[in-house]
Amino acid sequence: MSVLVYTESDKGTFKKIALEAASYAKAIADKMGTTVTAVTVNADDTSVLGNYGVDKVLKVNDSNLDAFNAKSYASVMQQAAEKEGAKVVVVSSSADSKYMAPVLAVNLNAGYASNVVEAPSNTSPFTVKRNVFTNKAFANTTIDTDVKLVGLSKNAFGVVENSASATEEAFSPSLPESTVNVESVDKVTGKVTIADAEIVVSGGRGLKGPENWGMIEDLADVLGAATACSKPVSDLGWRPHSEHVGQTGKPVASNLYIAVGISGAIQHLAGINASKVKVVINTDPEAPFFKAADYGIVGDAFEVVPKLIEELKTFKAQQ
């Protein structure tokens, strides 16, 4: 009966979204008067999950699961859900979880609500609020099936500490034959990714050319932020596609989004609107981004950004 949550890890360490998903599962379990069971795949120390309300960990260790495979991971989650008799299953909005969830929904005959932003307002009928129209509205959606699958939006519920002590149980589900095989992975290492970042610093055409990105990277460095860019910048080849954020690029749901030299086309704003605090630096006071931003500086990025970096360094030194 417990609420089941998939807690993702990277190289054995839990991602922040995993702790957020666990916190969310705990909120549901409290409403339903039940416990939380987490599923981990090739994670090392699972005890930390206890701090976020997890009562029991099903620990899966299998080298066949080293590379993510939607079908295999969905099968693991299905077997875990059946073993625990789970009526509610929680996953995050990572690229992997969004890949796995629809497969799992079919396997479990579960209604699936994605991009959920709050704890359920009601558990019978099971009602959740989710983002629709690319952050321009919310839908209140009921999941009408016996088993419910909830995809939690990133950075919407937050990580909530809830001290419990999690018991650990080894779990060895059978795996289906893999028919989608990973040949190679090309992943940026040593840099904060847009998906994981608390802060994102993004540059637009106002920066005039790729040679001027040094100050964007410096600003990101001092903040521990990920770098991103607008669509024209990636279309022009100034920056890689993987940095393009916006409606057809990557979605951003960071705590702080700083846009430098980005006018704020509606497609761009749609993709970054889930960020909590938005700052714009632009020479044009009429730029639409000023209507979407919380803080703004009307000024030349080439003067403002270096000053901002200096101010931030001073600030960080005092912390």
Binding site: V132, A137, F138, V185
Partner: protein
Amino acid sequence: MKILVCISHVPDTTSKINFTDGDTKFDTNGVQFVINPNDEFGLTRAMWFKEKQGASVDVVNVGGAETEPTLRKALAIGADTATRVNTEAKDGMQVAKELAKVVQDGGYDLVIAGRESIDYNGGMVPGMLATLLDANFVNNCISLEVDGTSAKAVREIDGGKESVSTSLPLVIGGQKGLVEESDLRIPNMRGIMMARKKPLNVVEPTNASAETTSASFEKPAPKGDVKLVDADNVGELVNLLHNEAKVI
């Protein structure tokens, strides 16, 4: 190779989003509808398979008669035939089940869908469809090559990309990268004229049931005005982000 491209009929990005009937329905009044951008990248990639590898390309939508102009646009871009499943799209599972029937009846080898539609953003139809069909599935697909029955695809992951090998039958959740923005095609007059003569088949639904119900909608609370900081006083921004917004 028989390709089916799933086309969502969605409001143009610049549309004002409003709701009617006590906030239970999307207000289509004055809204311009377009092919879902993620589907358009997939359709354009399908055209490449048609022109270079002799594939046939059909398009499909689950929806009422009002979605037909969007299917006609896909025909004008170059699809061979269109199918409309004559029922209102209610949720991801219902749409996936209706599409599964179309794929089985048509014997398609490759189904190209968008990673998500820009209206309800469910991001679930491609994966559900693949699983219902027991076909292979690659989501967030940014590159696709097919050789005989083998396929090579690149999937965007958090912080990078991943190359995979798989085989037909295959369903992909596609996005920008399958083709570039500059590859997208604007239908020309000849295409538009030809599209009028191409078959647009209306098929009756299997009446698959939905598993979720979006009972009501709401809009985010209006945002306050931007707080402007003087360009000569950048330190104030740091102060505000630390003490007021508490994000640094």
